[in-house]
Point group: D2
Amino acid sequence: MNQFGRLFQVHIFGESHGDIVGVLVDGMPCGIKVSSEDFQPDLLRRKSGGLGTTPRLEADEIHISSGVFNGYTTGRPILLTFQNQNTHSKDYSTFTTHPRPSHADFVAERKYRGFQDYRGGGAFSGRLTLGLVAAGVLAKKILPDVRFDTKITNLGGETRSEAFEEVLKKAVETKDSVGGIVSIRVSSVPIGLGEPYFDSLESTISHLLFSVGGVKGVEFGVGFSGVGMKGSEFNDRIVDSAGNTATNHNGGINGGISNGNPLELNVFVKPTASIGIPQETFDFQTNRIEPLTITGRHDAAIVLRAQVVLENCVAIALADAVLLNKVYRKDESK
Amino acid sequence: MNQFGRLFQVHIFGESHGDIVGVLVDGMPCGIKVSSEDFQPDLLRRKSGGLGTTPRLEADEIHISSGVFNGYTTGRPILLTFQNQNTHSKDYSTFTTHPRPSHADFVAERKYRGFQDYRGGGAFSGRLTLGLVAAGVLAKKILPDVRFDTKITNLGGETRSEAFEEVLKKAVETKDSVGGIVSIRVSSVPIGLGEPYFDSLESTISHLLFSVGGVKGVEFGVGFSGVGMKGSEFNDRIVDSAGNTATNHNGGINGGISNGNPLELNVFVKPTASIGIPQETFDFQTNRIEPLTITGRHDAAIVLRAQVVLENCVAIALADAVLLNKVYRKDESK
Amino acid sequence: MNQFGRLFQVHIFGESHGDIVGVLVDGMPCGIKVSSEDFQPDLLRRKSGGLGTTPRLEADEIHISSGVFNGYTTGRPILLTFQNQNTHSKDYSTFTTHPRPSHADFVAERKYRGFQDYRGGGAFSGRLTLGLVAAGVLAKKILPDVRFDTKITNLGGETRSEAFEEVLKKAVETKDSVGGIVSIRVSSVPIGLGEPYFDSLESTISHLLFSVGGVKGVEFGVGFSGVGMKGSEFNDRIVDSAGNTATNHNGGINGGISNGNPLELNVFVKPTASIGIPQETFDFQTNRIEPLTITGRHDAAIVLRAQVVLENCVAIALADAVLLNKVYRKDESK
Amino acid sequence: MNQFGRLFQVHIFGESHGDIVGVLVDGMPCGIKVSSEDFQPDLLRRKSGGLGTTPRLEADEIHISSGVFNGYTTGRPILLTFQNQNTHSKDYSTFTTHPRPSHADFVAERKYRGFQDYRGGGAFSGRLTLGLVAAGVLAKKILPDVRFDTKITNLGGETRSEAFEEVLKKAVETKDSVGGIVSIRVSSVPIGLGEPYFDSLESTISHLLFSVGGVKGVEFGVGFSGVGMKGSEFNDRIVDSAGNTATNHNGGINGGISNGNPLELNVFVKPTASIGIPQETFDFQTNRIEPLTITGRHDAAIVLRAQVVLENCVAIALADAVLLNKVYRKDESK
């Protein structure tokens, strides 16, 4: 059940240390210009290299294997793959019996009974988000006038962006990790996207966001912080014929449908589960709690590289809604 | 696109002031005992009557019209309907041109161009959640040993439950409204539910929750409040062979899959958009901002009645995951 | 799994002798005029009354319970139901253990283990086709310029229509039954409908047709009778810029996509399984072959009333393809 | 919309002269032994080489790129691809404006407006059936005790198999082509497969079969040839407690559900559209009918290589039904 979307359909596959990871995108209309270069900016945003990111460096060269002909989409499924090259599989062999805390090791073992590809987290690896980023690049081509503004607004409890480097430095030094909040703002979203019940815009966006490893919270508009507001304070007054509102506490969505104001949402990404500090966790071979040291290569703050992944999840949900809207939008000239 | 579920499929229909609202539930296995009485406890929890709830009182008598024979499910689609009786349709006629702030009036008008049933909020009405509650009752029959513990942990910014009545009283007196946070805890969830990408348990649960009007935030485990924790603090150590963890910051889910610890989540429900206090909003007939007074019957705190709705959304997602697991669970006796 | 359609979604429910049968249609665009009267012509075509049809007479009054407001579709799910009134349930009680030949009695008992509603064939009854007919009426509203020409071209082996009454008379007199071939021709189908793999027009049409009880063969164009033709004979030459072909051996479909020539197909409906002649079949109570006499009310030639059912199945498949085409049709003015 | 299956999901992609063709199979349970060798027998049956098959020879080496680890399925999506090597793309460039009769050239041009990959038939090429064959091999692993018996029972109007070679020889000599009927018999099918409405076994099987290019007819049991039978002749009497019937006119399916008798069906494959004989067809550049000579490499009787493709389509439908049945089969020991 690895597919999402009513019309713009995204299908993720691959394992961290297998041959490839990738995505099959179906439902992309024909006649849209696509080249490998189009993917580079977003793939670069996902890449490691900076402070707090994993030393596993991958070329992340994209292969477009079907659905594009003479530089344009054909209207057929588009297969996008990435080779896995820089893999250290020996790091992971013991985690099936001595599962890492807050990782999927334990549930994978119980669900797949030893048949899961456990190398590098297998199908649970953050490496699979490459497919989401790539699909999002295609999705954005269906959303021409929309503008994304994505940033970290909280890193490890710190909300002043000028102090983020300090937070990262400390996390790396202490071999620990930090989480954060990614805030996404999408402007110029057309009015009328979303199909409630059950495809409210919040539903489809959150569905995709929560499929990304480490995401533990999603809120729209003011979100949880609005709990102390009265209705008279929370309500967004419409101030003009375009539907602009004086405030945007609802985050650009009413009744599950975009209202033309900026779409605003926050996503909480938990601290990277892999840390260099020795931990204790149950060992299913010795049948008691044993010390565990994780020696692999990891991000001190996965939230840094998650930004573009989450942004592109939003793009995918919007692209699907835009295609659906082509069917169901009532022509204004009736 | 009013359906949700891979196997346990829920299809909502109806309008607030039409003949009926209801739900078609497909994918329910045969041979499960079902009677009208089974629905009463949860329907009662959704009912109005208490302080802060709407004076619109409906009998909410359920009609089981197909899929049940001699008191047991037949394995065929189950149609559950509720008559609408106590309707005051004249209250709503002007909102298509003078849309209520934070309601779906404006987006419905723009999306459906005057064809929407605007009476009582039409298909956007909270009355459609009757179908969710009813479907959830069936879902729970597939989850025999699971226990739900659902409560409001924050009402209008107040977290002490003994002060909730005071908050409500004040909201009613001032003709204003309040929001709140519903906390749901599900214990005895089997290990292994969830199918990532893209049907992580967080994905399917949030998809359903965000389809409920007024929901603006969903978080699992400690959620957003965990942003200041280091990985070494956040990680849940496994302490025994059953997979129990010392803490439950992940809310019972790792890698999108249930880990056997209690499923814990919080849902933010915004303050009821309808308030008795006069407001201002754009009037598309006069083409300027005009005062608006809402005279219909409404809940001062819709979050009160939303509790069972949200709980049953979780039940629906879990039921679907349980059925999928019947196919994909590897037999332990391999 | 009682739903069909990517966008125009049809969901059948009900049992022959339960309270109701009906259909939930989702994905119908808003703003389309609909009234109960619109359904009468097709419902009448399905009605019994003539020679060779069952004496079970039902009012077949349609109830539109949601999704239509002020005479127009709202863009929300449309619930259409029919009361069951003229039911003789005592006729059917023994068939779970002494199953009727060529009926679903045996498989239903084995699949649902006694929980199936066995009265009147339950969910396997031809009465459920009322929902298909009704959904087809809505589907046709999305296909404004298409013309259906549906007729029986073979009844009990007889291909001369003037001799059909004689065939029926003989079947009724002998308490036996006959099958037949329904030929459907749809003209003015737009070019470009169908989405291969896997939604070729032949695929979706046959999927729906084979869901109708008694259908055992579907062929397009010349079908099986073309097996003796050479490629040079079979190939349809295009003769003008509109894509018209000199012959139509392919039945208006190439590569799974409509080519603008009339859609032509034949459907074989087997002889009604219920006959008045005593038969023998295994009795699971006595554990031996026993004589069986079916005393209920039945059609000597169900193919007569099946015509409009099959035609409307085609309409449903076309409506879905038309909606999909709104998304994926490349604008000619590029 | 290139996917089929509720649980065993098959997703076809690729183009005839692109880099690859292949299939993404999702929903395969974990722990099933899979190696490249397993695919060879069925791939070999699809291969060209014999009389009446295309001289385009491809290695058809399968690449398993995800979802298999240490020789067993992981429960994750399985990506299977084949390189395209022996391609002569210049053969096809003029067919967009001078479309081949009975091919998809005309509809592809009208649907995709020049953006389709027209080389070698692009996505309409029979080469895409490699993915179906490969997916069918996986499907068969879920159907351990089932036996397929697939053969051509009619070639170009000839029903005596000993005369088939003569038919082929003549077709090749005259540069013409022939069609045929493939008869598939599946024995030891479990009772209870199929989920009507709308997933009757006939529906899902025909859906897949009609997605294969050239298929123009599907019939179950005696099919169309049973039109002259009376109900008293057609009905299959159950003769023992296992549900065996004296005859099998229904082809092993009643009410859309397998009844334990052999599944029997016939599939009509039209004569190969590509023939060496000069033809006439409309030229959209000169705007008149012009002679057309097809010089590419083709099968004189595509039905020969279609056998295993059609068989594996049936396997895919059965595998999906078997997985669904795991959820919905009522335990006999109730």
